[in-house]
Symmetry: C2
Subunit: 238 residues, 2 copies
DNA sequence: CAAATATAATAGCATTACTATCGTTTTTGC
DNA sequence: GCAAAAACGATAGTAATGCTATTATATTTG
């Protein structure tokens, strides 16, 4: 009975979550792709197509063929393919931030809270049925192998001024604060956490393509435990 | 007198170094750019131009205008701009590997040796007068902001098979062995070192463009000390 | 000094990365 | 339920990119 209630409570919380629209910075699109069927189709199939052929080979022309619309229509939603990449990247981090907040909320132990936070940013992603037009597993693969191209560009400073990377920074900020909850005198929480977030992605990529650069094999748990261990080692040694 | 001899010895070692040609995997070019004046000019100005306008905006056409040669001539040296990026990246890591070997050679203390190795891969780069057509400072900036584009591509597996990333892997392998010299039972030396090498680059980039993701400010020494501390903390805590 | 090789000059072509126009469908506000 | 507005599809067009090809001239090498 208690179990039942508990499960029921989770379900209701999840329902609450399912009603949350992932709000992405409005400057990232011309017309909100979440406001129409076509817009969702564009985002859905761009994730499929980028995952398939890579961002360099990806063009609006090819995407148009895939969804049966002319490329000019896609240009009504996104300025260019780079902005679409920034958009889906931003969507991903917004989605992850909700999961981060959900997972760490009401956890009284600061250590347990930080552990959960590290897990969220380092463990493999599962499909989230609340957003049916987004394949989070494929999106995660894109984030790992392509999203750096959204950050390492000559326009990074202007993009940053426009707030394109706000959600990403917010996640790093949140987890940094959890670090400080444990060790208020720790001097480099942001450096530590940004290293962990990017490092986890890299290790996943290396394990699949350049395995001699890792020791994690195809065991994703090792990535979680390595970086968890890394963070707590650093906190222990100042 | 002793000091003089010491200085003299260094000079001779350096002279030895100056005669070393940086040998890059022959599959990376069509005609060895190091075999002609024009080839060196292509490499020299590609570094300037990529640093100036970024890799996306960089084209053989623009490079041709810069050096006063038609683009078709550049195509006789490199298959395309991506291969040129792989080439200069590979040149950089080969150069850094020599410096790594030079700096850690004959250091009897394993801790001191590892410290020096970490410094080589995390500290700022200085101009090396031995290779007058290469601006190592600008090249380092390119490595930090563009070289991931040489690794994160759909062709990564074939490129890896061809040995394009061999030198990079060799550096990680060397430093991993230094880690094992100190802690033979440490389970994740490659993961640790590849995280450090890439992490140091990222922190440098973040400090210049996304400063809220770091705590290092514009103090490069903090990057060296953070990652040195990170490695030794991990070794201490298994 | 001849033969081989490298380079410059030029042209050309398919694809990319957009922008513009215009008729038709769909949505919306009353 | 209908008119106005907005969105979409179809098509065309343009400058730049990413190459390849050709030929004449210069340079190197045997």
């Amino acid at each position: 009975m208690l179990l039942y209630l508990h499960a029921n409570k989770l379900t209701r919380l999840e329902k609450l979550f399912s009603s949350i629209k992932i709000q992405v910075n409005e400057k990232l699109f011309i017309k909100d792709p979440d406001s129409s069927q076509l817009g969702k189709k564009i985002v859905e199939h761009s994730i499929y197509l980028i995952d398939e052929i890579g961002f360099e080979e990806f063009t609006f022309k090819k995407l148009g063929v895939r969804i049966g619309s002319p490329e000019s229509t896609i240009y009504r939603y996104f300025e260019n393919k780079h902005m679409l990449l920034v958009y889906i990247t931003s969507w991903y981090w917004t989605w992850l931030e909700y999961r981060l907040v959900f997972s760490t909320n009401n956890i009284s132990s600061p250590e347990e809270r930080l552990k959960r936070a590290i897990a969220i940013v380092t463990e493999p992603v599962k499909q989230d049925s609340n957003y049916s037009h987004i394949n989070e597993v494929k999106l995660n693969r894109i984030i790992i192998s392509e999203s750096l191209k959204a950050y390492f560009t000559k326009e990074v400073d202007e993009a940053n001024k426009e707030g394109f990377y706000m959600v990403y920074k917010s996640i790093v900020q949140r987890i940094s604060e959890m670090v400080l909850d444990i060790s208020p005198k720790f001097k480099h929480p942001h450096t530590l956490i940004s290293t962990v977030v990017e490092g986890a992605h890299q290790q996943k990529y290396f394990s699949e393509h350049l395995p001699s650069l890792t020791d994690v094999g195809n065991n994703d748990d090792k990535i979680v435990s390595f970086f968890t261990n890394l963070v707590f080692s650093m906190l222990k040694n100042g």
